[in-house]
């Protein structure tokens, strides 16, 4: 892992040197005089596009510690008879622990993590100790909850994202892989991979659905898996993976020959796998990167579970609930931040919150974030009760994408110029909240 960090550092530094020289070259009129500017620019573009690739992390060896005769599964909860918005005791316990942690540790670390695109290793370890990456692991394999815990996971995501959405993404990404394996993996896959996720040294891992193109449809993937005898050969690219360079395990969605979209378990370090840094507008603490697959050969057993379409669609939908939950947390962070600001900031001799134009902006953040929260809880709770939840997940996602973005924007607007500078966190939330409309996969409830 360290070797890779160092490698990236060298690559960055050499890129820095190169750019300095390049800038001098671009500024001189020599290029124009010798009429090669276009060619040089094109060469540079190609070089950057293909360059700065590194191999995936040299990961641990995953071995099946026990033999399961059949896959272990968390059971759906009993259908509930009454309408209720109060989390149960277990959920409150998780919620409070993560909320306190987010306030004490995550928020103070957020600004630097955003600037450096790096989260202190001990911070991730501490989040992990809260058990947040074990919520989808069946008890037989070291998990801590017996029943399906989509709602608990959503509450955890919300609470952590209230601290910081980018850190929340990085911290919860391994849990998504564990949950997917716990929900849909074969007995062998569960026994091989899940123990690592319930231990202390949880591997960085990524549930890779998103591809780098407009109008991405998770049900029509450009990443392909074709059969070669018993093996699968994968080709394609996956976008915005949290801590891509450190990942030891990937679950990659590919259009599988004869099957349609399906997930494949891929350990890092294999031939044909490489990662490329992929910095984005937000979620910067997660050090997002792109995974490239070129003729990656996998054994037949790498297909997650049966590779059935229903499981895959459910995975897509559960991910949407997870991103909605993160957006709810970040939206609440905006609300909690702007209230004291507009109450203290004075203009024309009184607090700006005495003006309706300002106050109504706060009202809208409050109203829409409450609606986002309820829609997200409803989808998660239906999933836990074994009810259909595709519609509810889609609506929560649509709502959180649209209102989350508007709330991020209004947060900056209410602080005016102060909102635009990095002295305040609202510009970060503006960037992060846009992710709720872009991301597919990556997180799971």
């Amino acid at each position: 892992m360290n070797g890779n960090d160092k490698g990236a550092g060298v690559a960055e530094r050499s890129m820095g040197f190169g750019l300095r020289a390049l800038n001098r070259l671009a500024g001189s009129d020599l290029l124009d005089r010798i009429r090669v500017r276009k060619q040089v620019e094109r060469a540079l573009f190609q070089g950057t596009k293909n360059g700065f690739r590194t191999a995936t992390a040299a990961g641990r060896t995953f071995n099946a510690a026990q033999k399961l005769t059949r896959p272990a599964r968390q059971v759906p909860g009993k259908p509930r008879s009454l309408f209720d918005i109060t989390p149960d005791d277990e959920q409150q316990m998780f919620q409070e622990a993560v909320r306190d942690f987010a306030e004490a540790k995550v928020r103070p670390a957020a600004q630097e993590a955003d600037a450096e695109r790096k989260i202190p290793a001990d911070l991730l370890a501490q989040v992990n100790e809260l058990g947040v990456n074990m919520l989808g692991i069946p008890e037989e394999l070291g998990g801590v909850v017996q029943e399906q815990a989509a709602t608990t996971t959503a509450l955890v995501g919300e609470a952590l994202a209230h601290g910081d959405m980018g850190i929340a993404y990085a911290a919860l990404a391994p849990g998504a892989v564990a949950t997917a394996i716990g929900h849909w993996g074969t007995a062998e896959q569960e026994a091989t991979y899940l123990p690592a996720f319930s231990g202390e040294d949880v591997p960085a891992a990524a549930l890779a659905l998103l591809e780098p193109r407009p109008l991405f449809d998770p049900l029509k993937l450009e990443t392909t898996a074709r059969r070669d005898g018993e093996d699968w050969i994968l080709d394609g690219a996956k976008s915005l993976l949290a801590r891509a360079a450190e990942c030891e395990l990937f679950l990659v969605a590919a259009q599988a020959e004869d099957l349609g979209p399906a997930l494949f378990v891929i350990e890092s370090g294999g031939k044909g796998l490489s990662v490329q840094d992929e910095p984005a507008m937000g979620l910067r603490p997660a050090a997002t990167g792109r995974l490239l697959l070129e003729g990656v050969r996998l054994p037949g057993a790498a297909l997650l579970g049966e590779g059935d379409r229903d499981s895959y669609v459910e995975c897509v939908q559960r991910a949407r609930i997870a991103w909605s939950a993160l957006a709810v947390g970040a939206a609440q962070a905006v609300l909690d931040y702007v209230i004291p600001y507009v109450n203290e900031r004075t203009a024309f001799g009184e607090p700006i919150s005495n003006r309706q134009a300002v106050a109504f902006g706060v009202s809208d953040i409050g109203i829409e974030s409450s609606g986002m929260r309820l829609a997200t809880y409803r989808a998660a709770s239906r999933a836990d009760q074994g009810q259909e939840f595709g519609r509810e997940a889609a609506l929560a996602r649509k709502l959180c994408a649209a209102k989350g973005m508007a709330i991020g924007s209004e947060g900056v607007q209410l602080l005016g110029g102060h909102g635009f500078v990095k002295e305040h966190p609202v510009e970060r939330w503006y960037r992060d909240l846009r992710a709720a409309g872009v991301m597919e996969g990556a997180l799971l409830v």
């Binding site: 008879s81 009454l82 829409e368 609606g371 309820l374 889609a394 609506l395």
Partner: protein, 404 residues
């Protein structure tokens, strides 16, 4: 234990209300939209039926009269699903049928909610079983209900009311009008009280009935109160001019009735969405929830956007009612629900007209009617702007003097 589904015990009620909406309201919807001011006599039998439903159960009815603040819990570790929630669910279904007709339902007026909220046991007994309308707004005082000019002067054992009231829903049809008046206009909101006036009181004179954009089945009356004498016992709540509780007590009614109006908006929005979806399906457009909205036709994407807003409005409404059932202060959530449902309903109903083109705009369909009906739901029981004010004051911790 988080669960945002309709509780099993209220499903029969919701289903009954839906049958009423389908079998009684929808078939006469267009008729009374056209025949404004004529009384929908079909509702008499229905009202008796609903009275019977209310009598026979402890879960509240499908109308406004069932609303009363509860505090004791039952089942599920103190969690309670009571009459506020069941009433909201009933209203959603009935307004999916026709909101104008719901507002015309005998004995289900907002005055009934006011009486149910603050009346003494004696008053409940005396006025129970009657149809009560609510008279707050005046020509010069709408949203600013603290500045009403109608006065009430104590004269022996009677109060004498003088003033003018407008926009009284079902005012001409109801048995009782709950009239807001000031005991002493110099003392501001603390002196404002509500009084129950019998419709046949000679001092209560009908001025005119309004012609409206929507909810035309429901009549909207304007009254002149001229030396209108009512017994002392007709005053609702305390007669003391206190600093805090007087006006607050009157306003407390709104915490209970705003979720009901939000529920009306949710019902109208759902009607529009469902019909638009059918018409879009006939035109070959299906909504796919697994596909990202932007990978589907623009009309589907717009539809999903509206449906998402509808989902938020609906859940905010259920939340406000659930809180009332559990004795939690819900003034903030009631206003959030009303604000979200009001604006969503208008956006959705108008949006569905646009999606369905001439079919949506024409009178062959009810979509255009729902779009006209929708607008009042973002206005009465506190306009959008008033809701935003209430929400802002609560979130920012501001008084009405600071944030006007």
């Amino acid at each position: 234990m988080i669960n945002l589904e309709i509780p099993k015990k209220f499903k029969p009620l919701a289903s009954q209300a839906n049958q009423v909406a389908t079998e009684v309201f929808r078939p006469i919807s267009r008729k009374y939209d056209e025949a404004e001011h004529s009384y929908p006599k079909e509702l008499d039998m229905l009202a008796s039926l609903i009275d019977g439903m209310n009598e026979g159960s402890d879960i509240g009815g499908a109308g406004a009269a069932g609303v009363r603040r509860e505090s004791n819990g039952d089942g599920d570790g103190g969690n309670r699903n009571g009459s506020n929630l069941s009433t909201v669910l009933g209203i959603v279904e009935l307004c999916w049928g026709d909101v104008g007709l719901l507002l015309s339902m005998p004995r289900q007026g907002l005055g009934n909610s006011a009486i149910a909220s603050v009346a003494t046991e004696e008053q409940l007994e005396r006025y129970g079983g009657k149809w009560a309308a609510m008279a707050i707004t005046e020509p010069e005082a709408g949203s600013d209900s603290a500045s009403i000019r109608t006065t009430a002067k104590l004269d022996g054992d009677e109060y004498v009311l003088n003033g003018e009231k407008i926009f009284v829903t079902s005012g001409d049809r109801a048995d009782l009008i709950v009239v807001w008046a000031s005991l002493d206009p110099s003392k501001g909101r603390a002196a404002i009280k509500s009084f129950i006036v019998e419709r046949d009181n000679p001092g209560l004179k009908l001025d005119r009935l309004e012609h409206k954009l929507g909810i035309r089945a429901s009549d909207t009356a304007n009254f002149i109160l001229q030396d209108c004498r009512v017994p002392k016992e007709a005053l609702l709540g305390s007669s003391e001019v206190e600093d805090k509780q007087g006006f607050g007590g009157a306003m407390q009614t709104f915490d209970n009735t705003r979720p009901l109006v939000a529920a009306m908006a949710v019902g109208v929005a759902r009607a529009s969405l469902e019909r638009a979806r059918e018409l879009l399906a006939e035109a070959g457009l299906e909504i796919d929830y697994a596909l990202p909205a932007l990978c589907q036709p623009a009309a589907v994407s717009r539809y999903l956007e509206m449906e998402a807003d509808y989902e938020a409005a609906r859940l905010l409404t259920l939340q406000a009612a659930w809180m009332a059932d559990n004795g939690k202060p819900n003034s903030l959530q009631a206003s959030m629900a009303k604000a979200k449902a009001g604006r969503t309903c208008v956006d959705v109903a108008l949006g569905c007209v646009e999606l369905c083109g001439a079919a949506g705009y024409g009178e062959d369909e009810l979509l255009e009617k729902w779009a006209r009906d929708a607008k009042i739901l973002d206005i009465f029981e506190g306009t959008q702007q008033i809701q935003l004010l209430i929400v802002a004051r609560q979130l920012l911790g501001k008084s009405s003097a600071e944030l006007r």
